[in-house]
Amino acid sequence: MRCLGVLLLVGSASGCTCGPSAADVAVDAAATAVVPADLVAASWPVQMATEADFRSFSSEPAWIALVMQRNVRDVVPLLGAVGGDGAARAHAEASLAFRQAALLAAHAVVETFGKTPEPSDPVGVAHLLTVGHALRGELAEARAASALLPPGDPTEPWHHPWRTWLAGPANWPPDLSGLPLGLPPVVVGGWPAGAPAPHYQLVERVEGGGARPFADPGALLALALWHEGAARLAAPGPALDGFLAGYRLPVEGAQPGGELTMPWLFGGELLVAADGLFLADLHGGAPAVDAWKDRSILAWLAHASRGSAGTIDAQLAVDRVADLRDAIAAASSARTGGEVQAHQRQFGEIAFTGALRGLALVAEVEGDREQGGRLRINAWEHSHKATAWPAGLLALAAWDASNRYPSRALDILHAQVRRMPELDPARYALDALALRVGRERPGETPGI
């Protein structure tokens, strides 16, 4: 009986350990000195170190699917039926995944049709560029692209809401209710499919040119906003904004966040209540790190990972995050008799991967894409099952697209679409980028 909760939560991934086992690892107690003990103690993995702590979650299968399988699509209706913070969390997870898929599509269309245009590109790419630039926060470019779209283009029904939005002050969010997606009214626990892709055909400008089927990036944003609306309906309050803070779109800019309660933290990549506040504040600049380092684990890690340049050094960051994992293991196991249990180890891995991804965001804001990229890729290397957070993985795919590196993005999106078919519209834009990049690069002959 004692093992039941752990068995449910850990499942087959790590096996159930009831007491000491060969899988348990001894942790050097000295490691706990590295990260401030009060921050470690406040982290959700330590707060949830015992079965009794997380029984309210482990008794609910939807939470197991959310944390151990990262199966957002299946979880939304289940937690939606329960309502409250859990439902809001599930919708927020979906919102972030769709946001990052929209950003992926935005980067892909700008890189393909904006940075390496071909004379044969369809006229309608002006609409794609409008949306792409808009989501990237490049409103002047978005307006310029919008002005190039001729009347009667097949994209017109999808373009109209954007033209209207860009004609004004472009306050976030745009009203996308006019998109021909057939989205139902926002309801907690709902999972709208949107209109099936492709959404229109774009004719290429060559003699006898074929039609390029395409899906609209705005559809992904509409779904993201729909789920955000459902999350607010389920649990009004600032916690949602704290949860969304790290992975908002560039066009959204900085938004105030709120403290995260346990339903917003449990099994997630933010570790303490103030991590969301820190990320919300981060877009204000580097002082956020110093301002929050005593309350936010992420800010503390960013502070402790500064290299000689005064910004995050990826190797230092990896070392600090590994220290954090050890410290969490030590503090967690201290609450259960000194041996690290399977679920504690798993929680530590989630913290490890989440901290890497969080620090990558900080490095990006500091303007160091190289260090940020190293951390993103390091996090991706550790993303398996419970640590394979869809929004984080899609954020890496979006980042890759912005770098004109489609291969990994294709694989990530392919895997996510398998579980969340509604992400499929992003595939069209990414395919366009992959085709263009693949045809312009020699030097990679097929290898045996």
């Binding site: 499942g11 087959s12 899988a23 690892v25 399988q69 199966n71 390496t116 071909e118 044969s120 290429e204 060559v206 040119g209 074929g210 039609a211 390029r212 190797q315 894409r369 190289e370 990229g373 190293r374 890729i377 991706w380 290397e381 398996h384 099952k385 394979a388 890759d400 770098n403 004109r404 590196y405 489609p406 291969s407 990994r408 294709l410 694989d411 999106l413 392919h414 895997a415 398998r418 579980r419 990414l430 395919d431 366009a432 992959a434 085709l435 263009r436 990049v437 693949g438 045809r439 312009e440 690069r441 020699p442 030097g443 990679e444 002959t445 097929p446 290898g447 045996i448």
Partner: protein, 523 residues
């Protein structure tokens, strides 16, 4: 034949002992077939060469930014049809001589020399017309066949030393192929059982790891045990079945390697019973891919992102070239086998197919190193085909034979089927595998010299495509045609994961080329 794993292990351990604290060793799939960049065919070749040579331009493994360690500045001339590159000062070859623009132009001339039998050079031949050396400026002007918007991409070739060759006709059998002279971070020397790389401090490289020993991987289990016991520091390709064990170990980390590989069984469409398409289709129907995958690679039914995914054509499923309308065939369909074989004129006697009075016997070969990734695949394929009524003999083909004979189309009378895999980076050009082989280099990787006019026409359509969509449509049609005509039985995509001990730090792995960022690796 692969070295016995314990002998390899002993050799590697011995090498480590001699290397001291700044050396590491690792297991490769096999030894490289060459260390001459013009003749690289295997992924082992490409990976090894990245340590020894510099390409004029390369892409960052992190940001994908186009960079160069050899070029200081570049300038576009003649409205984009020429590129002037000025070389960085102080770059030395591994024999101590200075790198100069003559070396760049020599490499171009060697690639353009029609007597240099290099498939690697083929795509550069299509883009580059000539190279003019400007020694006083330490610069070279490269002229292209047309203006490219990305000319630096078009010269991402490895630079070779002019002084190491008598003329621009370069052949693979020169000593240079085993004792190359490059400007890369490591000086390489290929022996019979290992390749040793030694750091060569240079103006543009300063590898932190002094020595690197590459040994041929044998039994995958032994490889992993040796890694976990610190007998080696890295394994390039870890069998999927062993990944959970590696993942559970705190001293070792699994690393993803950006390589898209798909596995196949090439069928002999020129000689023997498989000339008949119906018999090829029967073989396709006889395969139980689900069972093959489970028996040789292992499948976690709960894994939402499995490392192995079936394919129905010559692309991975995530590729924009993959035709999703062509469905995979995961299970065997013996009724279809019977129907197809009957229509081909075969009769079944005591569970064996008889054609023209003789049992159908299939000689099946497999590129031996693949056994590391999919243990016992060859036997399992043979067993399945035998239980469907086809006699079989199975053979492991050595890496050298695979490289020198199989992919060059010389096994047409030796085998009915060959099991292999192809690996790709960002570029997914499958024309060399399916185009009719020709003296001009077309069809250079056509294993059984398959020839089909419809296929050739589609490949021509791909090459002549004016737009990305036309290229995509051509390959979608190709996928459908190949899935029906079956010069290959398409199996699956299998991702590649390496494992490195944690004492090897900052070990960024570049997509496709692997060791591009080796300078940053530390102990």
């Amino acid at each position: 034949m692969a070295a016995h794993p314990f002998r390899t292990l002993a050799a590697a351990a011995l090498a480590i002992g001699a290397m001291g604290s700044l050396g590491i060793s690792y297991y490769e799939e096999s030894l490289p077939s060459t260390l001459n960049p013009l003749f690289a065919r295997t992924m082992v070749d490409h990976r090894s060469l990245e340590l020894v040579f510099d390409r004029l331009y390369y892409r960052s493994a992190i940001t994908n930014e186009l960079k160069s360690r050899l070029v200081a500045t570049h300038e576009s001339l003649s409205e984009g049809k020429q590129l002037k590159i000025t070389l960085r000062e102080g770059v030395k070859w591994h024999d101590g001589k200075d790198l100069g623009p003559d070396d760049v132009c020599f490499t171009v001339s060697a690639m353009l020399d029609p007597k240099t039998p290099s498939t690697v050079a083929k795509e550069y031949r299509e883009a580059i017309l000539k190279c003019e050396s400007l020694p006083k400026e330490n610069a070279a002007i490269i002229t292209f066949s047309k203006a490219f918007h990305n000319p630096r991409e078009r010269i991402a070739f490895a630079v070779m030393p002019k002084h190491a060759f008598a003329n621009t006709t370069i052949t693979p059998d020169l000593d240079f192929s085993s004792r190359p002279i490059g400007t890369g971070p490591m000086k390489g020397s290929k022996g019979r059982r290992e390749v040793k790389f030694t750091a060569f401090p240079n103006g543009h490289h300063n590898a932190a790891i002094g020595e690197l020993v590459q040994a041929e991987g044998g039994d995958p289990f032994v490889q992993v045990r040796t890694l976990l016991n610190a007998g080696v520091q890295g394994v390039i390709s870890v069998s999927p079945q062993l990944r959970p064990e590696v993942q559970a170990n705190d001293d070792v980390a699994l690393k993803s390697y950006g390589l898209r590989s798909w596995w196949f069984i090439a069928l002999n469409t020129v000689n023997g019973p498989l000339k008949d398409k119906r018999i090829r289709q029967a073989l396709d129907a006889a395969l139980d891919r689900n069972a093959l995958r489970e028996l040789t690679i292992g499948v976690d039914p709960n894994d939402a992102n499995p490392p192995c995914e079936f394919v129905s054509g010559p692309f991975v499923q995530s590729s924009p070239y993959y035709n999703r309308a062509v469905k995979v065939r995961p299970a065997a369909d013996l009724a279809t086998v019977k129907s197809l074989m009957a229509s081909a004129g075969a009769t079944e006697q005591h569970g064996r197919w008889i054609l023209n009075g003789n049992p159908i016997t299939l000689r099946i070969g497999m590129n031996a190193p693949l056994d590391v990734e999919a243990k016992d695949l060859l036997n399992q394929i043979g067993n399945q085909l035998q239980s469907a009524g086809f006699d079989r003999q199975v053979f492991r083909v050595s890496s050298d034979d695979w490289t020198l004979k199989a992919v060059t189309g010389q096994f047409g009378k030796d085998y009915e089927a060959l099991v292999g895999k192809w690996s790709f980076g960002v570029v997914e050009d499958v024309n060399p595998m399916f185009q009719t082989r020709a003296a001009d280099g077309r069809g250079a990787l056509n294993i059984f010299n398959f020839a089909n006019k419809e296929v050739d026409a589609l490949l021509q359509r791909f090459d002549a495509a004016r737009t990305d969509t036309e290229a995509q449509d051509a390959y979608h049609d190709l996928h459908a045609l190949l899935a029906a005509d079956l010069p290959y039985l398409f199996l699956w995509r299998l991702d590649t994961k390496s494992a490195w001990r944690n004492e090897v730090r900052n070990n960024t792995i570049s997509p496709y080329f692997y060791f591009t960022e080796f300078d940053g690796w530390k102990l």
